[in-house]
Amino acid sequence: MNDSAGAAAAAPAAATDTGARAEHPLRALVLAGGLTFEREVSLSSGGQVMEALHRSRVDAELLDADSELLPGLAAHPADAVFIALHGATGEDGALRAVLDLAGVPYVGSPAAACRLAWDKPAAKSVVRGAGVTTPDWVALPHSTFRELGAGAVLDLIVARLGLPLMVKPASGGSALGAQKISRVEGLPAAMVSAFAYGDTVLVERFVEGVELALSVVDLGQGPEALPAVEIAPESGVFDYTSRYTPGLTEYHTPARVSGAVAARAAEVALAAHRALGLADLSRTDAIVSADGDVHFLEVNVSPGLTETSMFPMALEAAGYELGDVLVRLLARRAAAGSDR
């Protein structure tokens, strides 16, 4: 990695202005919290980001995404914003669109790309269009089941996609509301559970295999696939508890897969990142089936940065330091200004 890039970038004013303004250290704003089910995770990610930035001697402030945010931004302008919000608003593009309106530079994907990635069925369709395998699926709103008859529609789904199935909300992270269904009897209740999280549910064919988290980072030389993190939850299911309880899941970095599979996984992550128009950083969740094919499941535009999150593990495996990467991403956005 190139240390001089980070050092030079840590003083964005100097890079663009040699006379009028005095050189000042990078001033960053970290957004965390929010009003979603993933608030706790976001606060944890935000805390890690703040620690890493302070270690890198960046002047960083943590704010929640609430009615204080815009007045706070106006009163204390930041050079760039880092969005550590998970779930809606932070990841669906809405907050980024507001930051665009306010002319505030931020790290990460633009609003429209986030909107696409946030909608899991839409993202699957785009990524499949880019030549990446993804499990067959159907995504339907509650109204379809109500109007056409839930029994008849579920019958068709099972007949077409088979069992087992994954049932999950069409948007949102941390596996909340997601269930693997092996027996048809459990399907109606799983639908009810998933619909509690949103108005559209994604049902996809379950693919047995090794679960991988594929991180991508772009430090200025184009998107770079980081080593795959293999996820081996003790319970066999990588649910919310397995994700955020230290010790309940074993992670292997790099993943224990063949060189060919690792290379394909990197291609998949980069293809998804590019096809969806993502920027700076992303994390694709994928499954390697027994035949070695890498199946795209979903992509996260605001990957978790908690102590048990995969993105920081991948950075470390690649020889990067989280604080340094954050500084470089922030500095690049600060230097570019609000022009994306």
């Binding site: 009003l35 089910f37 109500r146 069409a170 048809v184 109606p188 108005d199």
Partner: protein, 426 residues
């Protein structure tokens, strides 16, 4: 959904956008905060040598005397300060009693539902909790007798009955006068120890306190009291009233745990009882809670869909609500969080997985207008969940065809993109 997921959902509850009918937080801002502040300041500046020092393991003698005065309000007139052990909230008292009496595998009888904090203590002690049916008059004596007979027949040791007789947490109901007599009589008949947990007894809206179980029997009842609801939960001052032989064991146990209860907060409570109009303050609290109870019950009546039922507390903090058939309060919680209203799912108040169709609503903390808004949101959440169940409950998966193989090059099946509106979808 696991407990960690519940915690995740609850992380948004503290945000001001959310109406929380979840937490049982007393309305401490109704206290005369300036007076309490200068009182505590004086305790440090004038009596620091005592108030900042270690104290007796059993608790400050002066406070124990005043505790006896407080208990007299509920008919316990024969208590001696020597039988009182001051604890860090009555929660520590419950833990001490459990440590002293319970061995792994022992049976504890408790109401259905029961206080979640007690169930946690009992679980840690590896006790087996048997729930006993309640109705609007509290614990049903016949259910208690049946359970006692069944345990005796099975050769099990029932160590005690744990009961919250007044304005039950979470059920909101109060044990009636005749049932108190019946339950004390059963305790005699079956040689049963009763743990009477009474944090809410002085918070009645409509009538004088009903005589405590301990006032009816001083040998078979261990009484747990608390200043958390009558003064301040942040001070963490509670107590246990127990026969001398038990008291001795409790003091040894508490010394092992905390050496002594905090001196400063004990002095604060004693000074508060000595110098402040605390009975009038309890009236201020109950008037405030009554107003909030009224707002809760009125809006529930006006807004809840048919099939929803709830208890009508005449004191305390809680309404226990039963959802229409088939609904699950825990599974519904994400929808409620999205609608910015919070409650506690009923399942946590049972040791055996019952209670999915129940929730606890606390009216003690939000202002009446916020309560009305919270109930309005909750009603919409329940209605949306009812619609969902109407769609999926009747599905007969037994009639489904078998999966048929599809060609691997089958075209993708894509639902409507961007149809998912995030945020309040209740």
């Amino acid at each position: 959904m696991k407990s960690s997921e519940i915690r995740a959902l609850f992380s948004v509850v503290s945000r001001p956008e959310v109406v929380s009918l979840a937490g049982g937080m007393p309305a401490v801002t109704a206290l005369p905060l300036d007076a309490v502040g200068s009182m505590i300041g004086d305790l440090v500046s004038g009596m620091g040598a005592q108030t900042l020092q270690y104290g007796s393991g059993q608790g400050d003698p002066r406070l124990r005397e005043r505790i006896c005065d407080v208990m007299a309000l509920e008919g316990i007139t024969d208590a001696s300060p020597s039988e009182v052990v001051v604890t860090v909230g009555s929660q520590q008292g419950l833990d001490l009693v459990t440590r002293v009496f319970i061995d792994p595998g022992d049976v504890i009888l408790a109401e259905a539902p029961s206080y979640v904090g007690a169930l946690g203590v009992f679980q840690a002690a590896q006790a087996e909790v048997r729930h006993l049916e309640m109705d609007d008059d509290g614990l049903i004596p016949e259910a208690l007798e049946e359970a006692l007979k069944a345990s005796r027949a099975a050769g099990e040791r029932v160590k005690f009955l744990y009961t919250v007789p007044n304005f039950h947490n979470p059920a909101g109901v109060t044990l009636s006068e005749p049932r108190r007599e019946a339950i004390v009589a059963l305790a005699e008949k079956y040689d049963l120890l009763i743990i009477e947990d009474n944090p809410y007894g002085l918070l009645g809206f409509d009538h004088e306190p009903i005589r405590a179980l301990r006032a009816r029997n001083d040998e078979r009842v261990i009484y747990l009291g608390s200043f958390s609801k009558t003064f301040s939960p942040g001070l963490r001052v509670g107590w246990v009233l127990a026969p001398l032989a038990v008291r001795e064991k409790l003091v040894l146990a508490t010394e092992a745990q905390v050496l002594c209860p905090p001196s400063l907060t004990q002095y604060a409570v004693a000074r508060y009882l000595d110098t402040q109009p605390w009975r009038e303050q309890i009236k201020i609290f109950t008037e405030l809670y009554r107003e909030r109870r009224d707002a809760t019950l009125e809006s529930l009546t006006a807004l809840m869909p048919p099939g929803t039922t709830w208890t009508k507390p005449d004191g305390g903090f809680y309404v226990w609500l039963k959802l229409p058939h088939g609904l699950d309060a825990k599974l519904m919680q994400p929808r409620a969080v999205a609608a910015h209203v919070a409650y506690v799912p009923g399942i946590g108040f049972y040791a055996d997985g019952q209670g999915r169709e129940y929730m606890r609503l606390s009216y003690c903390f939000p202002e009446p207008d916020r309560i009305r808004e919270g109930v309005r949101r909750l009603a919409r959440v329940i209605e949306a969940e009812l619609e969902l169940h109407a769609t999926f409950d009747a599905v007969d998966t037994g009639t489904f065809r078998l999966p048929r193989p599809t060609a691997t090059d089958a075209p993708p099946i894509i639902g409507p993109a961007n149809s998912d509106q995030t945020g309040d979808h209740a």
